[in-house]
């Protein structure tokens, strides 16, 4: 008997995408696109290569299929945990015994940190697989979700924070169906953009969109672009600054979108002598000049940090735009050339092409509305949008959009969704006015009255990073490496960072995916009680005390929101919900996560709070009339049946239960195309984009600095310098060169830039265990070693396939040489994040990762709390046996 079961795939942030699973006689055999979803899904109803590995994932012989407990009390890389199978009763008993003892002691420890921590990977995607576990955590109380595994700080971090600040863009996408010219600085969309990204860009290419890929190596995206610019790592800001310079100083001013700048940005706000806005003495609001580039005198106040009046009376100011002109004067293409290793002529030409394609003053009709049409965009990738320089790059990109009016309009750059502003499900409704005519932003307070050195969690985001806000996602967007780093030495001013008494883990493997993995392992080994929801054994659950087998992707039940606009390139003309339903019964003793969560809540005496959380909307939609009675203990199917009814009522005005959803798989209603564009919403509210001048950030930085110094905390001073109203170029590459010295080496001995790049076939996580994925990924160059330039290799006498030693002063990894022309001679590249030593199948790959080589370093952390996957290394031939392959 054959049936097809509809479900979704959300293994990476480029989803969710829709698929069907063919089930023959109770065995899942084949994944196919959900053809019925083709009409609404922005990727034609397809799923990417990873989803085809789900069958192997389900039947993987290495799966943990029963709860397990550790019998070897010693924890370490070389210590066999001695996991033995136990019953669910015993397993949950062990876990809840610990939890209940914590409840008795108090949920916060002596430092004020939650005793319970939880880490999830995949940029939030585990939430679409963990059933009602979020409701359990909400019922529990304070949980430290800030022990990172790489999400945020290693990836698009600056774009998350600044993107939300400037245009409600947690991630930023070009308006691909309409964009004609795209400058992509390291955004590897063909590998990381998922089905929607690939689908949209392929159509755009065919239609004639020109993409210029600016990246140190010829990635998959570079391959599919019209032009490849091999830029020096970490110099993208110089490249972008030079383009700004060309637009401001070499092109007639009339070619820019002066109207947009004057009316829809804070460009005409007058800036006083101290760098703050001139404000009306009565209202306190910024004074707007009569023209874009003006110098005017007004009766005004200039108010600085902590509300201090820095000047008052008849004050002279110049517009933010005038200040910008002066600020960008030095950054010519000739200045940029030696910095970023891109010829000035190339930079100038690209700037010209960008401006030519911008169609300033043109309009387009979208759903009967006339909107500005500006078909140019700039996208930024990982390592460009995080770490030092991330701020400058994001600022430059957003400014370049503003200069031609291509910000949040058809054809230009668009924010996808919000995670820090609220409501999360409705980006436009998060646009609220602040007193200065800009969008209000939920900064963490920096004023004397409300700033606190008592952080709520160990990574201290609320204390250190005003931009991280304080919503459900803020914990994972703080400096999540601090939780790890400060365990050994908490810097002055913060309460001593303590070990969590209980740590939940799900779909995350920080021992592989974070930095300084050797040190991380040592720290994890000290965690007293680790509960890992496990798929197979891996490098992190190696340190666990209890393994719990949750029913995997094709075995469990959940309903999620889909559509609207969400991350990466998921721009839909529809919105709704999709169901993930069991294609087969859970194998072995694996259990649906919702059932596990319900059981945990019951054993901890938290059923009422748990149900209340579900009723309130923890599972995506408030249940309202379908609420769960407060003391009921329901099975997963019953819980999700209620969610289904509430969801369909919200969506369609009719309540449909689980059976209906199981048959349909998904349901949607139209989502207006005009909702992709935020500019009309700001215009309607009379608000402006905060570009170019970052007066708020300047003030916040000053205030934060004062609070920190008042509290004896001077170790964040370098980061405070990033709070500039108009960011200057700094020698970003130099920071990584200097770091070598700090690590005890000489920069000239470590001449290569080591980078990483996405492997679409693997990202994320558990796919490293799939034989099918490994097999097909090997067709794509670079999956079998370290990519280096063929000419460089010849110079060094290195042959293809030869074992090499890649090292920093402190650590080394081994990899085989993969000789390619498409990479800078000074750059090495390790695809993906491998280096496994415990995960079945992956541990035999003989592929390392750069992660053991990258330190967790305060010096290399920027003001938003992020770092970058960049490190300077040496390269030598290595004589190595097959055993010594990963570090």
């Amino acid at each position: 008997m054959t049936q097809r079961v509809a479900t979704y795939c959300y293994q990476c942030v480029a989803g969710p995408d829709l698929l069907t699973v063919k089930v023959c006689d109770g065995v899942a055999t084949e994944v196919e696109p959900n053809f019925a979803a083709a009409a609404v899904h922005p990727g034609g109803g397809k799923v990417c290569v990873k989803a085809y590995g789900l069958v192997q994932k389900t039947y993987h012989p290495g799966r943990v299929l029963s709860p397990m407990k550790r019998t070897n009390p010693k924890k370490g890389r070389d210590e066999d945990p001695g996991f033995v199978p136990i019953s669910w009763e015993e397993a949950l008993g062990l876990v809840c015994q610990k939890l209940l003892s914590i409840r008795e002691k108090g949920l916060l420890d002596e430092s004020g940190y939650p005793r319970v921590a939880a880490s999830f990977g995949g940029g939030g995607t585990p939430q679409s697989y963990m059933g009602s576990f979020p409701a359990f955590l909400a019922a529990w109380g304070p949980v430290d979700m800030g022990f990172g595994s790489g999400q945020g700080v290693k990836c698009y971090h600056s774009e998350h924070l600044y993107g939300e600040l400037w245009h409600r863009g947690f991630t930023v996408s070009p308006d691909t169906p309409l964009t004609n010219y795209l400058i992509s600085c390291g955004a590897n969309v063909e590998a990381s953009g998922g089905v929607a990204g690939v689908w949209r860009h392929a159509a755009a290419r065919e239609r004639g969109m020109k993409r210029v890929q600016v990246e140190p190596h010829l990635s998959v995206t570079g391959a599919c672009s019209a032009e490849w610019v091999p830029i020096k790592p970490k110099t993208d800001a110089a490249f972008l600054y030079a383009i700004i310079h060309v637009l401001l100083h070499e092109q007639p001013r009339e070619r820019l979108d002066r109207e947009f700048l004057y009316r829809h940005t804070s460009s005409p706000y007058l800036v006083g002598a101290h760098g703050y806005y001139l404000r009306d003495p009565g209202h306190g609001t910024p004074i707007i000049a009569a023209s874009l580039e003006a110098r005017e005198t007004h009766a005004a106040l200039e108010i600085g940090a902590d509300g201090e009046v820095l000047a008052e009376g008849r004050l002279e100011g110049e517009t933010a735009f005038a200040k910008l002109l002066a600020h960008m004067k030095p950054y010519s293409p000739e200045w940029a050339q030696p910095v970023c290793d891109v010829p000035a002529a190339t930079i100038r030409r690209i700037a010209g092409e960008y401006l030519n394609a911008a169609r300033v003053s043109e309009c387009i009709e979208i759903e009967g509305k006339k909107l500005p049409y500006r078909p140019v965009a700039i996208s930024l990738g990982k390592t460009v949008t995080n770490g030092w320089g991330g701020f400058e790059c994001c600022w430059a990109r957003t400014l370049l959009a503003a200069l031609v009016g291509a910000l949040e309009v058809p054809g230009g750059i668009l924010g996808t969704t919000v995670r820090l502003n609220r409501p999360m499900s409705e980006r436009h409704r998060s646009v609220k006015a602040d007193p200065d005519g800009l969008m209000a932003y939920p900064f963490n307070p920096t004023d004397r009255a409300r700033w606190s050195a008592q952080p709520n969690i160990r990574n201290a985001y609320r204390t250190m990073v005003p931009l991280a806000a304080d919503g459900p996602w803020s914990q994972a967007l703080g400096p999540t490496h601090f939780s790890w780093m400060f365990l050994d030495e908490t810097p002055p001013g913060l309460p001593r960072v303590t070990l969590p008494e209980l740590w939940f883990l799900y779909r995350t493997n920080p021992a592989i995916s974070f930095w300084d993995t050797a040190a991380l392992e040592n720290r994890m080994a000290r965690f007293p009680f680790v509960v890992a929801f496990a798929f197979t054994r891996d490098e992190t659950n190696h340190f666990a005390d209890v393994l719990l087998p949750d029913a995997s992707d094709l075995e469990s039940l959940q309903l999620i929101r889909i559509g609207g606009s969400k991350y990466i390139e998921q721009f839909w003309d529809h919105e709704g919900f999709a169901l993930r339903q069991p294609a087969i019964a859970p194998r072995g003793e694996a259990r649906d996560f919702t059932d596990i969560a319900t059981d945990l809540a019951a054993r901890c005496g938290l059923t009422e709070q748990y149900n209340a959380s579900i009723n309130k909307g923890a599972l995506g939609v408030p249940l309202k009339e379908f609420s769960i009675p407060e003391k009921s203990i329901l099975k997963s199917e019953q819980v999700w049946d209620s969610v289904c009814r509430a969801a369909s009522l919200e969506l369609l005005g009719e309540a449909h239960g689980l059976d209906w959803w199981k048959e349909k798989g998904l349901a949607t209603r139209p989502f207006p195309r005009t909702a992709w564009y935020l500019q009309p919403t700001l215009a309607a509210k009379g608000l402006r984009f905060e570009m170019p001048y970052q007066e708020r950030l300047l003030r916040i930085g000053q205030e934060l600095g004062r609070r920190l110094h008042e509290n004896g905390m001077t170790w964040w001073d370098r980061q405070l310098a990033e709070y500039q109203a108009l960011p200057a170029w700094k020698d970003f590459p130099g920071l990584w060169e200097t770091a070598i010295g700090a690590a005890g080496g000489k920069t000239k001995d470590f001449p290569f830039w080591l980078l990483t790049s996405r492997s679409m076939q693997y990202a994320w996580g558990a796919n490293v265990g799939m034989q099918l994925i490994k097999e097909v990924a090997d067709n794509v160059a670079g999956h079998r070693g370290v990519i280096l330039n063929t000419g460089k290799a010849r110079e060094l006498g290195i042959r293809d396939g030869e074992w090499l030693r890649i090292a920093t002063p402190k650590a080394e990894v081994r990899a085989r040489a993969v000789l390619r022309q498409g990479i800078r001679p000074d750059t090495l590249l390790l695809l993906g994040q491998f280096g496994h030593w415990a995960t079945p199948t992956a541990k035999d790959f003989q592929m390392p990762s750069m992660n053991p080589l990258v330190p967790m370093s305060l010096e290399l952390t920027d003001a938003t709390g992020s770092g970058a996957d960049v490190v300077r290394v040496s390269l030598r031939k290595a004589a190595v046996s097959a055993k010594e392959t990963s570090s």
Partner: protein, 245 residues
């Protein structure tokens, strides 16, 4: 995207080495009129065919190999082999000269089919070159006449050996001019210096010169089948236009 074929390994190569030498010997046996030579030739051919039988995936279906004499040189080779064994074994029993001639003719056809077989393999540039055909035929004859020297050093046999070795040398030169193959460099040099020059220098003195011709021919064919057999990979006469011309 060069790919070295691994389906035809040493066992398949054995068909060409043993079978080529054996059929070459059988062709020459009209000059020898020697039953032991015929037996050796048949044994070598059988060894080659037996080796290749070990390589096929469905051994019990081997008889299907005859089904396509219309276009397949492998079918034709198999039919020729049948004729060789029919005539050759009959000759060993009945000793009729006409059977010997029949076997020799069928052996010549067998050798020809072997050469055409490689040439028809369009996927391997080193095999499909037209120069492959005379090379395979010539080396089969050189190897066979080399073996013949073990049975007789009559003038006719000596002359046949010299002619075959010279012809092989010319065929090799023509092949090498047309096909560049790193894997054949060393075997080719051996073929020239040991299998041709040394062999011709010594053949009047010792029958071992024949073995020099034999060994170098075998090495060449082994390398040709198992090491020089790169598929030509993929190439793009036009690169895709990615959005902008």
């Amino acid at each position: 995207m060069r790919w070295l074929q691994r389906h035809w390994d040493a066992r398949a190569a054995a068909n060409f080495t043993f079978g080529g030498a054996g059929s070459g010997l059988l062709v020459c046996s009209v000059l020898l009129q020697e039953p032991y030579a015929v037996a050796l030739g048949l044994t070598l051919m059988a060894a080659g065919l037996g080796a290749v039988w070990l390589e096929i995936g469905r051994k019990l279906r081997a008889a299907n190999v005859f089904f396509n004499p219309f276009t397949s040189w492998m079918s034709r080779e198999s039919l020729a082999a049948v004729a060789v064994f029919a005539c050759g074994l009959s000759f060993l029993v009945f000793r009729e000269a006409v059977l010997l001639y029949g076997a020799a003719l069928a052996a010549a056809a067998f050798l020809w089919c072997q050469a055409r077989m490689l040439h028809a393999a369009k996927g391997i540039p080193a095999w499909r070159a037209p120069q492959t055909v005379p090379l395979i035929v010539a080396t089969g004859l050189a190897e066979g006449t080399g073996l013949a020297l073990l049975f007789s050093t009559d003038t006719a046999v000596l002359a046949a050996f010299a002619l075959a070795v010279a012809a092989r040398f010319l065929a090799w030169r023509r092949y090498r001019a047309a096909v560049a193959s790193e894997a054949l460099e060393a075997p080719g040099k051996a073929l020239v210096w040991i299998g041709t020059v040394a062999a011709l220098a010594l053949f009047l003195l010792t029958p071992l010169a024949g073995l020099a011709a034999l060994a170098t021919g075998w090495w060449l064919k082994l390398a040709l089948v198992t090491r020089a057999s790169l598929n030509q990979g993929f190439s793009l006469p036009h690169l895709p236009v990615r959005g902008a011309r």
